[in-house]
């Protein structure tokens, strides 16, 4: 649907570089958990190729292609980024590095961090040296994210942090956590929260994995007991952490919604899967698949449109709730269809069609994490449509 007629020079150069630098083993579009390189201090590369690929990309700034060069990125324009993605996809190249540092903390620091903070934290993220996790939710708070009970007591040069976080993805494997902490207990709910950066190896931090229905444990509970956090490890102003959190949530929404858009690797899966089962596919499955494909394409275009708008200076704002809602609901539909298409083969853990069941169950969390679909609809209803609360 797109021709990409611009920046031919960049494309040619990039193609050449990929040809020379992307190891063959990294060219299989592997999207399984095993294939992902998460990085971090304790990372064990699954192969030499994986390590090579990370280092070569990091050197060019290609782990975070749109970040400024001084912070470890490649400084690509949005147009170049598109080309970058197309060329990576063309050869089926794996992502060199994935992390919450790239997806979430990085964008927040780029927006709210001081120059020193950017220099300190961003390059290690870009090189995959430090792995971050997220500390937002708390037990019992659910969708009411601002209901932060974890408290940080002001001790002059540091905060003394006590409390508990939940749904801290991969906290058991992370080096650092960015967390919402209540630093003013008198202020209104949204006004007394600070956004702190906490070292996981610090005394007093404990994590415990939560086993999910998909059989895996990507999420943890994380406990803080008298953890000392130096005053300079704060993003944004004291007690203004909710601003950072909101920014990040919007960002997270857009990221999660992309999962269902069907224009990246995952999107082709449906068509491919359906082709395998064309003979046995009933009309209802085929009809559902057509609808799903149509919606996936249109949602993918909507992601494009919102990015183009953002570039034109029209931020999505609360409308990003729509992307999150539509993208995650679509992704759930798609995985339901893939399960149906897989039939009995898909009913085994790690059966003939791989971990399709695990992936399917994982998608059920898409419309819960990062704000439930219900919260998204309420945001749209009140803030976009202006319906009375």
């Amino acid at each position: 649907m797109s021709t990409g007629q611009t920046s031919d020079g960049f494309r040619a150069e990039l193609r050449e570089w990929l040809k020379a630098n992307c190891p063959v083993e990294m060219r299989d579009s592997g999207m399984s958990e095993d294939a992902i390189c998460w990085g971090g201090r304790n990372w064990k590369f699954t192969s030499t190729a994986q390590e090579q690929w990370l280092n070569r990309c990091a050197e060019k700034g290609y782990t975070v292609p749109t970040w400024p060069k001084e912070y470890g990125g490649a400084g690509l324009t949005r147009e170049q980024e598109k080309i970058f993605k197309q060329e990576m996809e063309r050869i089926g190249a794996r992502s060199p590095l994935e992390s919450f540092g790239i997806w979430m903390l990085g964008p927040a620091l780029l927006h709210f961090g001081s120059h020193d903070q950017k220099l300190e934290y961003l390059p290690p993220i870009a090189r995959g040296e430090v792995r971050w996790c997220q500390g937002y939710s708390e037990p019992g708070a659910g969708s009411d994210l601002a209901n932060v009970q974890t408290r940080g007591e002001d001790k002059g040069d540091h905060w003394l942090v006590n409390g508990q976080k939940i749904w801290t993805s991969y906290a058991d494997k992370a080096d650092q956590i960015f967390a919402l902490v209540r630093t003013d207990r008198e202020a209104p709910k949204h006004k007394g929260i600070s956004f702190l950066l906490i070292e996981m190896a610090e005394g007093g931090v404990e994590t415990r994995p939560i086993k999910m229905i998909s059989g895996i444990s990507p999420f943890c509970e994380t406990f803080f007991t008298d953890v000392k956090v130096p005053k300079h490890r704060i993003v944004g102003e004291e007690n203004r952490g909710w601003d950072v959190a909101k920014y990040l949530l919007t960002h997270e929404r857009e990221m999660i919604s992309g999962g269902g858009a069907g224009l990246s690797g995952g999107g082709r899966a449906l068509g491919a899967v359906l082709n395998e089962t064309l003979d046995t596919m009933g009309d209802t499955l085929r009809a559902d698949a057509m609808r799903c494909e149509i919606d996936a394409l249109a949602i993918g275009l909507t992601l494009e449109r919102y990015k183009d708008q953002a570039e034109a200076g029209q931020g999505a704002g609360d409308a990003s709730a729509m992307l999150k809602y539509m993208g995650t609901e679509l992704n759930k539909r798609r995985h339901e269809l893939m399960m149906t298409a897989g039939g009995s083969d898909a009913l085994e853990w790690d059966g003939p069609v791989g971990n399709r069941a695990g992936d399917w169950l994982r998608t059920k969390a898409n419309s819960i994490e990062g704000g439930t679909s219900e919260v998204m609809l309420s945001i749209i209803s009140r803030r976009v449509l202006g319906l009375p609360a």
Partner: protein, 371 residues
């Protein structure tokens, strides 16, 4: 491809169109037309032509404004909001696109007459209850240097009032498209009593004479000319439906804010809020498909099937949901003829069928996506 954001010019065009239509063709206009027993509004079309809309796809050297498909969609979308009635899609979008595929003097002249608003067109393509050009049975029998056309066409939108017809017929080795005056001998037009109160006709062709000059494009190769025209029409119709959905949705949200029940505004009820938010989300997503279809038609028209069918399928689903929710959320009043919501619902239904229904376009998307 250009960005999926309206350019400044396109935004200005939309604003202008909205301003014009709010004045010249507001929602009540269709009702008045119906109550007066009219199926079209030639005076309004003249005004539109003066604004350059009739020539939106006509080259400048033929007197058009040549603004392109995205611009045509922008205009159609605004028309959808107020249910403005005109032969815009049949004439300015489809006939003009067909004529542009041919580069002879006749075609140029015809384009000039479209741009000036002098001549209107209708496409006589379908014969069964569903859009299906390939199923054409109507015969164009060779007769000397010319042809004799015999058969029946149905659901010819704008067909009772159009000055000229583009007629698809079967010739020796394929399909051929004829451009003939609607009053040619042997043609009988029967106006259909359409639920959207607009012009459509069933047309009988009884041994109608056509010369070689009447052939648009090449004999036996109608689709070279017709396919781009149909795709342009499908995209513009999808845009109209998206405008329609937005219009119906706006009316509904307004009602939710204002109507009180059980002592409070009904817009405070969370179940309605979530449904409204869902509907808005659907309209946003569909708007992207519309914009994309325009861009693709403008930039890579030879490769537009996926983009166009995606747009028409999404627009059909979205407009249908918008009018269903619109009527339901309005309650009894939405069912009354005195309220305008019903006009949205009836037009959405006709537009859903015209130029291919959801199934038709879904099949094309599926085929192109490999299943």
């Amino acid at each position: 491809m250009s960005k999926l954001v309206l350019t400044e010019e396109e935004t200005m065009l939309a604003d202008m169109a909205r301003g014009f239509l709010d004045g010249a063709a507001p929602l009540g206009k269709l009702r008045k037309m119906r109550d007066d027993g009219q199926r079209g509004d030639p005076a309004l079309w003249k005004q539109m032509a003066e604004m350059g809309w009739a020539g939106v796809l006509v080259p400048e050297d033929a007197g058009g404004s040549d603004m392109g498909f995205t611009a045509a969609n922008v205009i159609a979308q605004e028309m959808g909001k107020t249910l403005a009635v005109s032969p815009f899609i049949s004439t300015a979008v489809m006939a003009a696109t067909a004529l542009r595929q041919v580069s002879d003097a006749r075609a140029k002249q015809a384009l000039a007459r479209i741009a000036s608003g002098e001549v209107t067109y209708a496409l006589a393509v379908d014969e069964g209850v569903k859009h299906d050009p390939d199923a054409t049975q109507m015969a164009a029998r060779s007769d000397g240097n010319g042809f004799r056309l015999s058969g029946k066409k149905t659901f010819v939108v704008d067909g009772a009032l159009a000055d000229r017809l583009l007629v698809l017929a079967r010739t020796a080795d394929g399909l051929t498209l004829f451009d003939i005056p609607a009053d040619r001998s042997g043609i009988t037009r029967t106006a259909s009593n359409m639920i959207d109160d607009r012009d459509a006709a069933r047309i009988d062709f009884d041994d109608v004479e056509a010369t070689g000059e009447d052939v648009l494009g090449q004999v036996d190769h109608a689709m070279d000319v017709l396919r781009p025209a149909l795709q342009a029409g499908q995209a513009a119709l999808a845009a109209e439906m998206t405008g329609l959905a937005a219009g119906a949705f706006g009316m509904t949200v307004g009602y939710l804010k204002e109507r009180k029940q059980f002592g409070t505004e009904i817009g405070r009820f969370q179940a309605l809020q979530h449904r409204a938010a869902h509907l808005w989300s659907e309209t946003e997503v569909t708007a992207s498909a519309i914009l994309n279809a325009g861009r693709v038609l403008d930039e890579t028209p030879g490769d537009a099937t996926l983009a166009v069918s995606l747009a028409k399928a999404r627009a059909t689903a979205t407009a249908t949901l918008a009018v269903q929710e619109g009527v339901q959320m309005h309650g009894g009043i939405g069912m009354t003829d005195a309220y305008d919501m019903g006009f949205y619902m009836k037009r959405a239904r006709v537009a859903a069928e015209w130029l291919g229904d959801y199934s038709y376009h879904a099949e094309r998307v599926a085929a192109l996506r490999g299943f």
